[in-house]
Symmetry: C2
Subunit: 389 residues, 2 copies
């Protein structure tokens, strides 16, 4: 496989963007990435798009062709491919784009992710999120997506003594990081007390334990490494891509306090990159709920199993610590437009590795890791990026 570099990035603000359509958002992010890479449209060989459920959110499937068309790329009849793995749709689209360049099939590929969630009401939106879980064994019996994560949280508290306060500290930290990110949906710091007293969604998870419903898009431009310097002085190298699956339903797993897909995807990615968790300085992990970040920092190997909550409460995952987790604000504060999330994680890492992250810059970041999850851990994608010196 050939070496692959990221030569351009683009992202929209995340939030309730009622004045912008799905296609508006996708094109805005895509054009920003293409501009950042100093590309002309004719140089683009292919497009990949991550999207979970435009069919249900906006009555539109065939999302690859849609974005190719309205960004002007259909003029050159470029191949356009939509990829879906629920919450991991963006990370998975990135992986397919990476393979398309690594294989030698294409030299320059744009990978975008987008979701427009707020045009339907919150109830329908929650219903749509639940299509990521097992329809026959979970949602048909009324389980919502927050409820499934509440089960995980309760069990983690039971097994490891993880506390509500420790979970709350994930939200406090990520809102603090988000306050430093002008693209974040929430740029306000919150206090632990506010998290603990937030209205219950699925106990023990309150409103502030849950990532919001969001609109938004993000995009990157991938290029074979040997041509990357033609476009940018700061290419960022794709060191590894790991992917793994697990059972769709929680009930079919041996344990619900670890996501095996995460640890296996991480193992595969670390092997390809020739490093381990200690070689990573900055990570964007899938904190769709506060408990999810605690599982993630354990399953990725940053902390031993059961100690993710304690480590978070001690500040070991904050900006300035040895491993800075979710400097963008994460899904919790940056926002979570499902299909866009995996790409936005990569965009944040590129900002960090280029030294362009402003007030949230991690000093001396050499390697970054993105961790994108679908459902309650049935899909995990781990991407490792590195500075090119």
């Amino acid at each position: 496989m050939r070496d692959v570099a990221i030569i351009g990035i683009g992202d929209t603000k995340f939030g309730e963007l009622w004045d912008q359509s799905f296609r508006d958002l996708g094109i805005q992010a895509g054009l920003a990435a293409v501009g950042d890479a100093n590309l002309s449209g004719e140089e683009i060989d292919a497009l990949y798009v991550g999207n979970m459920s435009a069919g249900k959110f906006i009555e539109q499937e065939h999302i690859g062709a849609l974005i190719a068309d309205y960004s002007g790329l259909a003029r050159d009849n470029i191949p356009a491919t939509r990829v879906e793995a629920a919450g991991a749709s963006g990370g998975l689209a990135f992986r397919q784009g990476y393979l398309a360049v690594a294989s030698g099939m294409h030299d320059i590929v744009v990978v975008g992710g987008a979701e427009k969630m707020t045009d339907v009401g919150d109830v329908l939106s929650t219903e749509i999120q639940a299509t990521a879980a097992d329809q026959q064994w979970e949602t048909a019996f009324g389980a919502t997506f927050p409820a499934l994560h509440a089960l995980i949280a309760r069990r983690h508290m039971h097994e490891f003594g993880t506390t509500r306060e420790q979970m709350g500290m994930v939200a406090v930290k990520n809102h603090k990081h988000g306050s430093l990110n002008p693209k974040a949906q929430y740029q306000k710091e919150i206090k632990l007390d506010a998290v603990l007293k937030s209205p219950p969604v699925a106990e023990p998870l309150g409103m502030f334990d849950c990532a919001p419903i969001s609109d938004g898009a993000a995009a990157v431009v991938l290029c074979c490494m040997d041509k990357a310097r033609k476009y940018t002085d700061t290419p960022v190298k794709v060191l590894a891509s790991g992917q793994a699956s697990d059972t769709l339903a929680l009930a079919h797993r041996e344990s619900i306090t670890r996501f095996d897909a995460t640890s296996v995807a991480a193992r595969r990615a670390f092997k390809q990159a020739g490093t381990d968790a200690s070689g990573i300085q900055v990570a964007e992990v899938h904190d769709n709920f506060t408990i999810s970040e605690i599982l993630a920092v354990e399953d990725l190997g940053f902390f031993p199993k059961g100690e993710g909550g304690k480590a978070t409460a001690e500040g070991q995952t904050a900006l300035g610590a040895k491993i800075a987790v979710n400097t963008s604000g994460g899904l919790k504060a940056r926002g979570d437009p499902i299909g866009a999330t995996g790409i936005a994680q990569v965009v944040e890492l590129v900002y960090q590795l280029r030294g362009q992250a402003g007030k949230r810059q991690v000093a001396g970041a050499e390697r970054g890791l993105a961790h994108n999850v679908g459902g309650t851990g049935a899909t995990a994608i781990v991407t490792i990026l590195g500075r090119v010196n």
Copy 2:
């Protein structure tokens, strides 16, 4: 890129399969393909699934993980990826699986396609099919998928003198081929008169000009060529994969009597395979409506533009002619469970190239071409397969 072979195939009967769920169908096809390749599950590196709209048909997204899980592959945490491009979802999944092996990332990949359409009523099903078209510029104004194809048919009749009878002969031929295929949804021959007198769906298209609503699944196993002989004596080589896009809405094109995505995808595929239309003996083309096959045989270069109807009526695309088109029965008679269709086309070509097509065998078939379309030609995938002697 490495050479890639197909070492196993599997497919379900297509039809109104009310006693089988989406997951049942996917697993049945997948296990058949894996068995055909003499594989044990542990040897499989990754899974790709083509599916258009399970979110809307069965309230389930996250299709890759679903199929990996219920076919037992999640035990090994294999990467599972769902790909969508409306009617071209299957062909596009095949292409991603091909790239995954060609890149060197994986050695053995299963690619499946499935759709369960008959659990919702015909009206909702037609509505869902229309999500392949442009929501803002076509379906929001009431255009159905058959109506958009009726516009194409009318214009083709106007420009080239194509007749209702010529279109009807596509259905007559494909039902005849379908009568030779024990997996086809319709295994009955029909007469031209029956097509012409069938109830109008969107004039000039009648009921028998339209592919049915179907349930079904199909799967193939891909392997790097240098390991293929370990599993089979009759590997079939993937000679080329071409993909192209076009505008989503018909109104935004220069012409609606040709699909540029088809001709560009074909040009790319022929270039990679080092051949042209004259080098193909058997083709599965996207006949979701009779007019679609006429466009296809023209745009693929089998016949000059405007002469597809005439060639069909003269029998030049039937079994026994120089180019045998839709020997499986095509979407029209084999059935069209959307996400499965592109894979079922590949399965039919493998039967033909192995010499296992029974009564519908094309004598001396050396190269086969599959042509899979999304929407009204906004995505086209052209795959070329060859015998390995």
